[in-house]
Symmetry: C2
Subunit: 314 residues, 2 copies
């Protein structure tokens, strides 16, 4: 199993990426082989400083870096030797089985959509976020930002992708799927959710439990909550702000500590042909380690094979 990691991506790279590797190799009994793209010299110095010497590490020199605010398409085109472009090259050519970066989100999306491409049958790949439930369980909300305007069928596909992710990666058996909406009953909602409801209801690949309202997000009504990326992005950022607010007000509670989304490490792009994981720009060591774990799990469970099969029989 080969996992690619962009060492130059993120505000705290490459140092925090190296710390993540250190955690990963210290805590993992049978680690994957890591392919590290980035500045060879910098990476080797840091690996040495952190006493990381594994035969399971290969450094792939990538002398260019795509900045956090560069235009994604332009940057990928003009910087073929960047750590992100090299990562996607390796992934597209089967040298690695998954690629992770906390770098330029737009460039990661463009790379995922254009060099790895959507799974046949998937109209719109999506990104999700973990939602900490107040009873200690874990929920998944998607889309959280790449599809601001959606068609009903998009939400139906998010439901399938999210359910498989919840089942195989989050370990939730027969995950309950909810449609984010503004009322409990069928027929409530805006034009999108009114049209999406019957599709979800008739979808035999998911365990649809009906509408979930704003008040249900942090409760256990549904494990997988689907919405357009506009709604999801507002919920995601509101949830992230709760961590900041509780920290500012010195409200220290285990529950709100989970709203530090940094600890989750990143979000996989669901609906593309290979595992691609995008981290927060401010990812620290633990976040990088967690992203490697998720990539490993996605490969080990053949999540992509399951997703492809779901859309083949559709």
């Amino acid at each position: 199993m080969n996992i690619g990691l962009d060492m130059m991506g993120g505000d705290l790279a490459p140092l925090e990426a190296v710390k993540g590797l250190q955690l990963y190799f210290n805590e993992t009994s049978s680690p994957a082989h890591l392919f590290l793209s980035g500045d060879e010299t910098q990476i080797n110095v840091l690996l040495k400083e952190h006493h990381i010497s594994s035969q399971k590490i290969t450094v792939i020199h990538a002398p260019q870096v795509i900045g956090m605010h560069e235009h994604p398409t332009k940057a990928l085109k003009e910087k073929p030797q960047s750590s992100i472009a090299v990562g996607f090259y390796l992934l597209a050519n089967n040298k690695i089985d998954a690629f992770i970066s906390a770098g330029n989100t737009g460039a990661m999306m463009v790379g995922a959509l254009f060099s790895i491409k959507a799974i046949d049958g998937v109209n719109r790949p999506t990104i999700s976020t973990i939602i900490p439930k107040e009873n200690g369980k874990t929920g998944l909300l998607l889309d959280v930002g790449i599809n601001a305007d959606c068609k009903p069928e998009n939400l139906n596909q998010f439901a399938i992708l999210g359910s498989l992710y919840a089942q195989y990666i989050l370990g939730i058996e027969n995950p309950k799927v909810g449609l984010m909406n503004v009322g409990e009953e069928e027929g409530k909602g805006n034009l999108l959710t009114q049209a999406a409801y019957p599709l979800l209801k008739e979808n035999k690949q998911i365990n649809f439990v009906g509408n979930t309202e704003g008040r249900d997000i942090f409760f256990d009504k549904a494990d997988v909550m689907v919405c357009d990326g506009f709604t999801g992005n507002i919920i995601l950022k509101l949830a992230e702000s709760l961590y900041e607010i509780t920290q500012n007000k010195k409200i220290h509670h285990q529950y709100f500590d989970q709203f530090n989304f940094e600890i989750y490490g990143g979000t996989p792009v669901l609906g593309v042909n290979k595992p691609v994981i995008i981290g927060h720009g401010i990812s620290k060591g633990r976040a990088f380690k967690n992203m490697i774990d998720v990539a490993q799990k996605m490969i080990a469970t053949d999540l992509l094979g399951k997703m492809k099969a779901s859309f083949t029989i559709n």
Copy 2:
């Protein structure tokens, strides 16, 4: 100044409505004249029990009650002697200057839209919610549910209505208006917000400060935040759930205590020709008292006159 109060509306009526009156008359130096619609006998017994004997109270007998789950249009038609129908009759005929109910929300909306009607020039009346800001200030979010799908011009009108409410009722000088969105820069968003942005930017009646994201809702970026009713309803109900969560987890903090939306008392219907205030079904005495205060302030500041003037010069 005459204010109508539906004594039969809400899960805890008429007792809590009476308690609200008690608080109001005890705490208000120059109270308005209250017209109480509902079952005369029940009301008089409760008024006596609570030692409320003011010359500023007139009970208007209304023998019928519209239940919380009745079909709004049907109920209003079939129950002309209900406390809500009677209230709107009084309001439409200038016997009262404002009408308040914690009863069937749909019936209150239908009454407001069809018997009081929208202000000339206002395409879609709206309802809002107070947002407690983490710095102690107060924000206003609208629409929060009656306009699930909106056109760009609707958001622009919500901005005007919300600004006037923030200025005259919440006491915010030159309120900052933000457009709920998924990115900071102009051009970001879904089709709706992309089209609404330039309208807000060019609107000289408001102090537009740009986009507000999910992370800005509880912070001081904007006083008035506009969005479609789908987005707003999800934010509102999520915010309400934070009170429940913090209560359940015994996190007692002044900030989250403000998420007990019961204390705000209700939401005015903005954009109709007269003050109409709809309370939570679970309104208690303090909520009723606060709704009477808001109605009084709306009348005293001639908020409706200001709103009408805004749409005349448009």
